[in-house]
Amino acid sequence: MKESKKKTNYFLNSCSPIIEKGVAESIHKKTFEKIELNKDISILPPPAKTGKKTRLWVSVLSGSVAAAILLLAVFSIKHTKEEPNFMDIVSLTENQVYENNSDEVVLILSDSRQVVFSQDELIAFTSDGVLDYPITTSGDKKDDATQESLNQLLVPKGKSSQLLLSDGTKVWVNAGSRIFFPKVFSKEKRNIYIDGEAYLEVAHNADRPFHVTANGFDIKVLGTSFNVFAYKNDDMKEVALVSGKIEITDQQNQVLEMKPDELVSFAQNSILEKKQVDAKNYTSWINKILILQGETLTAITHRLALTYGVEIHCDSSIGKEEMFGKLDLNNDIKEILNYLELMLPISVTQEEGTFSLRQK
């Protein structure tokens, strides 16, 4: 018996898998080859930080009102500067594995409990971070949940949701999106992470600026309302501000201040251009209206597929057709596609749940 205990200890303390020869060298070699390939994006020195500018707009905004922005983004690299641990926590949280291929809106609390909500049902948190809902949850409650763990709201394709955060900020969350937010915000700042599209009305609090972290850039706001469109599979990144003022920091640490009705677009995680738009057109989805201002049919069908949770194939020969007008998203997807069929020289067919758009 004693012998076996000794052996067990020997096993646990001294035995381990043998690694083949050359693995370490090979990992070195591969790593540096990859760094070489990525040189254009990895070796760029970060521009000097413009802390002065930040303070300027903070003071301007401290007496200010609500604002609204919209953003379209691709996710590639995490980047936060001001909140040391937030993305760190996000990267740990994102690794948490849940059965989130569910068709329902699921809220995963920081203690791992899960709550399912119906379409557009308001999910409200009280000021002390408690979910204001008669909880009937699934999932084991973890006993070691810390203040640092994040709540996650997962909204599948074809659904949307509304969220009231503990600070009074309201978030409309669109289809196929995820929001990570702390149980309670820190005293200095409020930080949330968005993957997908959301419209936010941020509760004004000059002492605790609100940060939206998206991969590729960071948005700093005080009291403001804004819309985030940030699906990782989308090649486009945009921010449109409806009212108020915001500050965007891209991955090259370029800082840009935005005024209402300005649209900023990004290319490869750095700010590309700024132009004047009617920013309200970018937040119409919360009222179930899609305003089209010359978007291509490819972009529109991509968006409809997400909103309705269906597959839509658009033939490349008609993909560049541009559309203007409004689509009422309260309508059935079939009605919407029938409408497109009337407007454009296309024909729509349906096979096993997949819609196909072809040239007529």
Binding site: M1, S4, K5, K7, T8, Y10, F11, L12, S14, C15, S16, P17, I18, I19, E20, V23, A24, S26, I27, H28, K30, T31, E33, K34, I35, N38, I41, S42, P46, F75, S76, I77, K78, H79, T80, K81, P84, N85, M87, D88, V90, S91, L92, E94, N95, Q96, V97, N100, N101, S112, D140, K142, D143, D144, R178, Y193, D195, N215, K232
Partner: protein, 180 residues
């Protein structure tokens, strides 16, 4: 040199310190990845992807509380991405990574065959690999890589209590074989 000092040097772009960093972690990351992907070639790809991500993000290395946990989380995500043949070039993306179907503990060997014989070792390896995947994942991190339970809890998103259960089970199996 402390880990913090090393990270600060890497942040400044010191390639030789980055090489040292790779030496420091490549064994543990490689073994952890091998458990998911089971082939050397892919595990090497995974680990070099993770180190690439570290280099790309070196500016914020000092903001990471536990570098090893961070590396292991990325290694797991990237391993599973490779298994699913997903685009492996977006290592740091926020993906719904999910779980691997299985986990393998690479063949464990004893430095001294007089204490544990080759036959015993073969039986132990077989028995360990017959354990449930999650149990093996935990065993790899806790006993082979010596990661503190609290960090494992975060990496795998399970409670310390659960880790204890898995480890007790694995050690029970090993002790039983060594008692025969």
């Amino acid at each position: 040199m402390s880990e913090r000092e090393l990270l600060n040097k890497i942040k400044e772009g010191d390639i030789s310190m980055f090489r040292r960093f790779i030496d420091l972690y490549n064994r543990d990351l490689y073994l952890f990845s091998l458990g998911y992907v089971s082939t050397r070639e892919i595990a090497e790809e995974v680990v070099s992807d993770v180190f690439l991500a570290v280099w790309k993000n070196r500016e914020k290395l000092d903001q990471i509380r536990s570098v090893k946990s961070w590396l292991l989380v990325m290694t797991k995500n990237q391993s599973i991405s490779y298994l699913r043949k997903e685009q492996p070039d977006t290592i740091i993306s926020i993906d719904d990574i999910g779980e691997a179907d299985n986990y393998y503990i690479p063949q464990i060997q004893a430095p001294d065959n007089n204490i544990i014989s080759l036959e015993e070792m073969a039986r132990i390896n077989e028995a360990i690999n017959a354990l449930p995947p999650k149990c093996k994942e935990v065993f790899m991190l806790a006993k082979i890589e010596q990661i503190p339970y609290k960090e494992i809890a975060q990496i795998l998103n399970i409670s310390v209590k659960t880790i204890n259960v898995h480890i007790a089970k694995a050690i029970g199996v090993i002790a039983k074989l060594l008692n025969e």
